[in-house]
Amino acid sequence: MEAPAVATELYVLLSAVLFILGALGVLLRRNAILVFMSVELMLNAANLALVAFARQWGNGGGHLMVFFVMTVAAAEVAVGLALIVAIYRTKKSIDIDLLHRFKD
């Protein structure tokens, strides 16, 4: 049986929805870890779009980019989690609304 052909547009639509959900999460969430997960959702939405486009074009450029996005995201995770742990140790909270030390 041949693999069912799902139109590229549908994948891109899904990735756009995921991207918007991620962006809204970053803007609306207050817990630093959840904000951070929303950022990851944005990156993975882009990955989905890249892979879908790569299949449409039939070349490997999109896959290549996905590999790099994944590894860089892992590096970001490492740094981000370390920062969040450090903040938790000093503030006993990871609510990003508490980050208002500096004002004009």
Partner: protein, 504 residues
């Protein structure tokens, strides 16, 4: 089915400045583990040596004294080795060397002395260099992250201090948010053109426009998102919100370096993407590139907001943060000018000239704040430089030079930079935004001169702690600012060979 590439395809020699820096940074990461705690001066010296060697190679290549490699591409076009790459490398490496000099004493007296500081600085310098060398959107993304991730860590280098941690987390979250936009933009550009290589994008864009396909709007959306991602890095309005908080909270020596390095990297990548990847991306009914009007609008907003808000600032770090937003606006005039056919190369040269002038000036200005700052990170208000001229005449004079240069007074490097940028803006018929640039420069003179006024004409006990590497860094920056101001042809000579637009 798969041909094995040869060494000449990789063209490793052409990437020598970046390769040397990458190897040096990796070796230093391991070597530093064997340097005992009290002797991190050795690590700092080694970092300077690595940067120096790389700088010499880049300078030789820029001056056409030696010809590295064959042709201008390396790694199958992922890396471009032309004179723009060399010029960006030189600016980044000079900034990084000044950054090391500024940091050493500061880290020592604030108890932050760790070898990782220098290694992270080297890696982020490498990222900024690679952004200028990008020939492919993949390179842009990886280089951007290589620039950013060490900067996130460096911002939080004074850990256990709430301000530093807060600035690091803020920078990190907003930075990651921006790279999300960048990656999605890259995905859309790839979707519209089927490639991530600039040459391929350019060719595909021509076909798209010729066929008048609706896909060009996908391309436009993608370009817009890439612009947003890079606009964040260079602190352009409306992506500037992080700048004041991060600059105020992060250790000052880090800010001295990153305020320039992140800007150089961001603008280098913008020039590459817009002038090389999408030079004649024109929508119907327009003569200039489709992104031009957006860019000059952002430039105008950035200059106005940066300069107007800076007037009300009393913290020096915050003041310079808004000033750096304003300067991003000036450079964006030149970036916008690249959208007009025939002006692109001149505008790219103006960007490079401005960044070189800005590097010396801004690192120097922050270095003076490093000297004034107390060990606990306080004492960075404008009141703390009251009467500094009596206590430290040379330091105050250097600060005066930096402030005048930032304001764009003739005979300083800042003036030369502004001159070329405004000239490019006029050549591209962007008269309104250039006029805004001139007017906001006049506003900026107020808050820069106010700092000088406080140092020279107010009574107070401005104090500073200077030791020799810091003094050395400030002197080089001040002398550089003056020399480039007195001999503008040094700058224009450096940028002479830059030609990157396909369209002209």
């Amino acid at each position: 089915m798969f041909t094995v590439p040869s060494l000449s395809d990789l063209n490793l020699a052409a990437t020598l400045p970046a390769t040397l820096l990458a190897l040096g940074a990796s070796v230093l990461l391991v070597l530093d583990l064997f340097v005992p705690k009290g002797r991190k001066a050795l690590t700092a010296w080694l970092a300077l040596a690595v940067l120096g060697v790389s700088l010499i190679v880049a300078l030789l290549s820029l001056g056409d004294v030696v010809d590295l490699g064959t042709g201008e591409g390396a790694f199958f076009g992922l890396y471009i080795a032309d004179s723009f790459t060399d010029a960006v490398s030189v600016i980044v490496l000079v900034t990084a060397m000044l950054g090391v000099a500024v940091a050493y004493n500061y880290l020592e007296r604030t108890g932050m002395q760790r070898g990782e500081y220098y290694v992270l600085l080297l890696f982020s310098a490498l990222g900024a260099m690679l952004m200028g060398a990008a020939g492919d959107l993949v390179t842009v993304f990886v280089a951007l992250e290589l620039l950013s991730i060490p900067l996130y860590i460096l911002s939080g280098f004074r850990w256990r201090d709430e301000g530093s941690e807060e600035s690091a987390l803020k920078y990190f979250i907003l930075g990651a948010f921006a790279s999300g936009f960048l990656v999605y933009g890259i995905a859309l550009i790839y979707g519209a053109t089927g490639t991530t290589a600039f040459g391929g994008i350019w060719a595909a864009t021509r076909d798209l426009l010729a066929a008048d396909a609706a896909t060009k709007y996908v391309l436009l959306l993608g370009a817009g998102m890439v612009l947003a991602g890079l606009g964040f890095k260079v602190a352009a309005v409306p992506f500037h919100m992080w700048t004041p908080d991060v600059y105020q909270g992060a250790p000052t020596s880090v800010v001295a370096y990153m305020s320039v390095a992140a800007k150089v990297g961001g603008f280098a990548a913008l020039v590459r993407v817009l002038a090389w990847g999408l030079p004649d991306f024109v929508l119907s009914g327009q003569s200039a590139a489709a992104w031009q009007s957006t860019v000059w609008l952002i430039a105008a907003l950035t200059m106005i907001l940066g300069n107007v808000v800076a007037v009300a600032q009393n913290n020096l770090k915050r003041l310079l943060a808004y000033s750096s937003i304003a300067h991003a606006g000036y450079i964006l005039i030149a970036v916008a000018a690249m959208g007009t056919a025939g002006v692109a190369n001149e505008a790219a040269r103006a960007v490079v000239i401005y960044l070189m002038a800005y590097a010396f000036t801004n690192v120097g200005a922050f270095a003076v704040i490093v000297a004034v700052e107390r060990d606990d990170g306080g004492h960075t208000d404008i009141d703390n430089v009251r009467g500094l001229a009596k206590e430290q005449p040379v330091l105050a004079a250097s600060m005066a030079v930096f402030m005048l240069s930032l304001a764009g007074v003739p005979l300083t490097a800042g003036f030369v930079g502004k001159w070329f940028v405004f000239k490019a803006g006029l050549a591209a018929d962007l008269v309104p935004v250039t006029v805004i640039g001139v007017l906001t420069s006049a506003i900026s003179a107020y808050y820069y001169l106010r700092v000088i006024w406080f140092m020279y004409f107010e009574e107070g006990e401005g104090k500073a702690q200077i030791a020799w590497p810091l003094a050395w860094g400030i002197s080089v920056a001040a002398i550089g600012t003056l020399i480039l101001g007195f001999f503008p042809y040094l700058l224009s000579d450096m940028a002479r060979g830059i030609a990157l637009a396909f369209g002209g």
